[in-house]
């Protein structure tokens, strides 16, 4: 039976020769992930069920990233719970303040996740690691607890949507514009329960940062996972980084897909998701003078080095518009250090932006950029649901770093055009 790339990884981890879409399997996990919001719930369930040991201290990753450095006493208690658990069980991939990054920027960068892996994470954007050629999906805290205890998880083998990519992106576009365009076509549940398999001759023109961003938002189309084939771009990224040997899987030529979507990168335009759904997409050029109060450049979607570079190239030597607050959040400490060493940090400050240490903070309305009623933000984050970044009457527009930075200078939503 012909299989998709996702199905091949799942078959391997279930210890069977082949699997079919819809089949229920029990699969071995390479990494089980949680953060400072979801892990305390998982720890509670783990203990309540009477487990005393984790299945493998080297296969669990706990990243404090949502509310750290802690925003209040309660969040400090949640971090403390994670810290004590990690210490007690000698969890090797525990990342605290000073070492942490936004989990989905950090784990690929640190080589904790790699090609061929089967990964669950108690965070919906765990689907990010599909960019490396891994099967990776978001789950809840109870699944995390069960994963930590047994190293296994049950899955319904997903059917697939093939996304055939051709062409090359215009200069003012990035992976964000690609995935927003796809979500606009599919809708927020267009890929529900399915895998999104990105393929085609155009993928060689997408950098790893673009791919990580694209897979990150597969969940916003309802998908179980997004996945890219392993090619030279992947190998180059993994070499010297991956902490474990990687495995390369590829889809069978005659694998079955429920649907094939064609995306010509050359036709992609700067795209914005308007409130209050990621699928509510419009070309940035068609949004005229929508005034903004805040800009956020960062998150697990767009807090990587290329995102910082795009922001730097647009903001350097210029001034953020009067009345606009621009918050830039490098995704990891390494990315933050690079921003400092390359002089980008200074350029951001000179432009009138603030730069934060890595945090999910404003993306989910946690802290560090909460919106008041009637305020409007353009953000490189991943969700624009009602109240996502603050007051229920505030608005979030999702866009690429190029579009967000250009909008910060203009004071209203605009696409970036080179001078």
């Amino acid at each position: 039976m012909a299989m998709t790339m996702t199905q091949k990884i799942l078959a391997k981890h279930a210890g069977v020769d082949s699997v079919d879409a819809g089949q229920l399997i029990n699969a071995k996990l390479d990494i089980v992930l949680g953060n400072d919001i979801t892990t305390p719930v998982a720890i509670g369930e783990f203990c309540k069920a009477g487990f005393t040991d984790v299945f493998d201290k080297d296969r669990i990753a706990i990243v404090l990233d949502h509310f750290v450095p802690n925003k209040d006493i309660k969040s400090a208690e949640q971090s403390k719970t994670c810290r004590q658990f990690a210490c007690h069980h000698c969890i090797s991939h525990f990342y605290d303040v000073g070492k942490m990054g936004i989990e989905h920027a950090l784990l690929p960068e640190a080589g904790v996740v790699t090609a061929g892996d089967c990964i669950i994470g108690a965070d919906s954007h765990t689907c990010t690691y599909g960019a490396l050629g891994a099967f990776s999906t978001g789950v809840g805290s109870t699944d995390m607890a069960a994963g930590m205890a047994t190293g296994m998880a049950w899955f319904k083998v997903p059917a697939a949507i093939k996304i055939d990519i051709t062409g090359k992106l215009p200069e003012n576009c990035s992976g964000k514009d690609v995935i927003l365009t796809i979500i606009g076509k599919l809708g927020v549940d267009g890929a529900l329960y399915k895998s999104m398999e990105f393929t085609g001759e155009g993928i060689k023109n997408l950098s790893m940062d673009d791919r990580l961003c694209i897979c990150n938002m597969a969940i916003e189309a309802g998908a179980k996972n997004g996945i890219f084939p392993v090619d030279d771009v992947t190998i180059q990224y993994l070499e010297g980084r991956s902490q474990r040997p990687y495995m390369i899987f590829s889809a069978d030529e005659d694998a079955v897909y429920d649907e094939v979507i064609h995306v010509n990168l050359s036709e992609i335009v700067p795209t914005v998701s308007c409130p209050h759904l990621p699928s509510n997409t419009k070309a940035a050029a068609n949004l005229h003078h929508i005034k903004i109060d805040q800009v956020v450049i960062g998150s697990c979607t767009n807090g990587r080095l290329e995102d910082m570079e795009a922001a730097y190239n647009i903001l350097k030597g210029r001034q953020i518009a009067q009345g606009v607050r621009c918050i830039i959040i490098p995704g990891t400490m390494n990315i933050l250090r690079e921003c400092v060493q390359r002089g980008w940090y200074t350029a951001f400050i000179d432009a009138g932006a603030v730069v934060s240490t890595p945090t999910c903070g404003p993306c989910l309305g946690g802290y560090m950029g909460i919106l008041a009623a009637k305020e409007r933000c353009i953000a490189t984050t991943n969700r624009n649901f009602v109240g996502r970044m603050g007051h229920v009457d505030s608005e979030v527009y999702l866009a690429s770093p190029h579009t967000a930075a250009a909008s910060a200078l203009a004071g209203y939503i605009t696409e970036y055009k080179e001078d």
């Binding site: 279930a14 210890g15 229920l24 029990n26 071995k28 919001i37 979801t38 305390p40 719930v41 509670g44 369930e45 309540k48 069920a49 009477g50 949502h66 509310f67 925003k71 209040d72 309660k74 969040s75 208690e77 949640q78 719970t81 994470g121 108690a122 965070d123 919906s124 765990t126 978001g138 789950v139 809840g140 805290s141 109870t142 699944d143 607890a145 069960a146 205890a149 047994t150 190293g151 296994m152 049950w154 319904k156 927020v188 549940d189 529900l192 329960y193 969940i219 309802g222 179980k224 759904l277 989910l364 309305g365 946690g366 909460i370 969700r383 649901f385 009602v386 109240g387 996502r388 229920v392």
Partner: protein, 164 residues
């Protein structure tokens, strides 16, 4: 197992941010969190919900974040069941894992009106709108999932089987 109560009606794409806003996620305490259940879509929900009541919604209920706090607050409020046209996959998984009964039934989700008195029999999957005297049949769960539910959630279920 049955539940009976009045219906609360919500649209498509009810996301986990409106079910339990992240600004409250600085605690894992279900009772404390439950005070804010559905707050950003329906401020009156917590005041009006009684044990056994039913949430009825459109497509893709529970989309967005993986926070298990979402099904947990719905359950902790006393909600007996969520009926939707479809569920986002992580919410679906979480609901089963923590023992919040959910049912997929497009027709029931379409026709049931807010305030209707609803009776749900989980063993048969039969949903009855007592107010309109109409019955609906929900999609049954796969056996594998029924086993998890019967054992009282995922962690209780894995206690009984060795990993393969």
């Amino acid at each position: 197992m049955i539940t009976q109560g009045k219906a609360f009606k919500y649209p498509d794409n009810v996301d986990t941010d409106v079910i339990i806003p992240a600004r409250y996620l600085n605690t894992p305490d279900a009772k404390e969190l439950a005070q804010h259940c559905m707050e950003d879509i329906d401020k009156e929900f917590v005041k009006n919900v009684n044990a056994g009541d039913v949430i009825v919604a459109g497509w893709n209920f529970g989309c967005g974040s993986s926070r298990e706090h979402a099904p947990l607050v719905i359950k902790t409020c006393g909600t007996g069941c969520v009926i939707a046209k479809s569920f986002a996959r992580i919410f679906y998984r979480n609901a089963i894992n923590i023992g919040l009964p959910i049912l997929e039934c497009e027709k029931a989700a379409e026709e049931i009106k807010a305030g209707d008195k609803i009776h749900v029999d989980f063993d048969t999957g039969i949903i009855t709108d007592i107010t309109t005297d109409k019955t609906y049949e929900a999609q049954p769960f796969p056996e594998f999932i029924q086993a998890i539910i019967q054992k009282g959630g995922l962690l209780a279920a894995i206690g009984e089987r060795e990993p393969q």
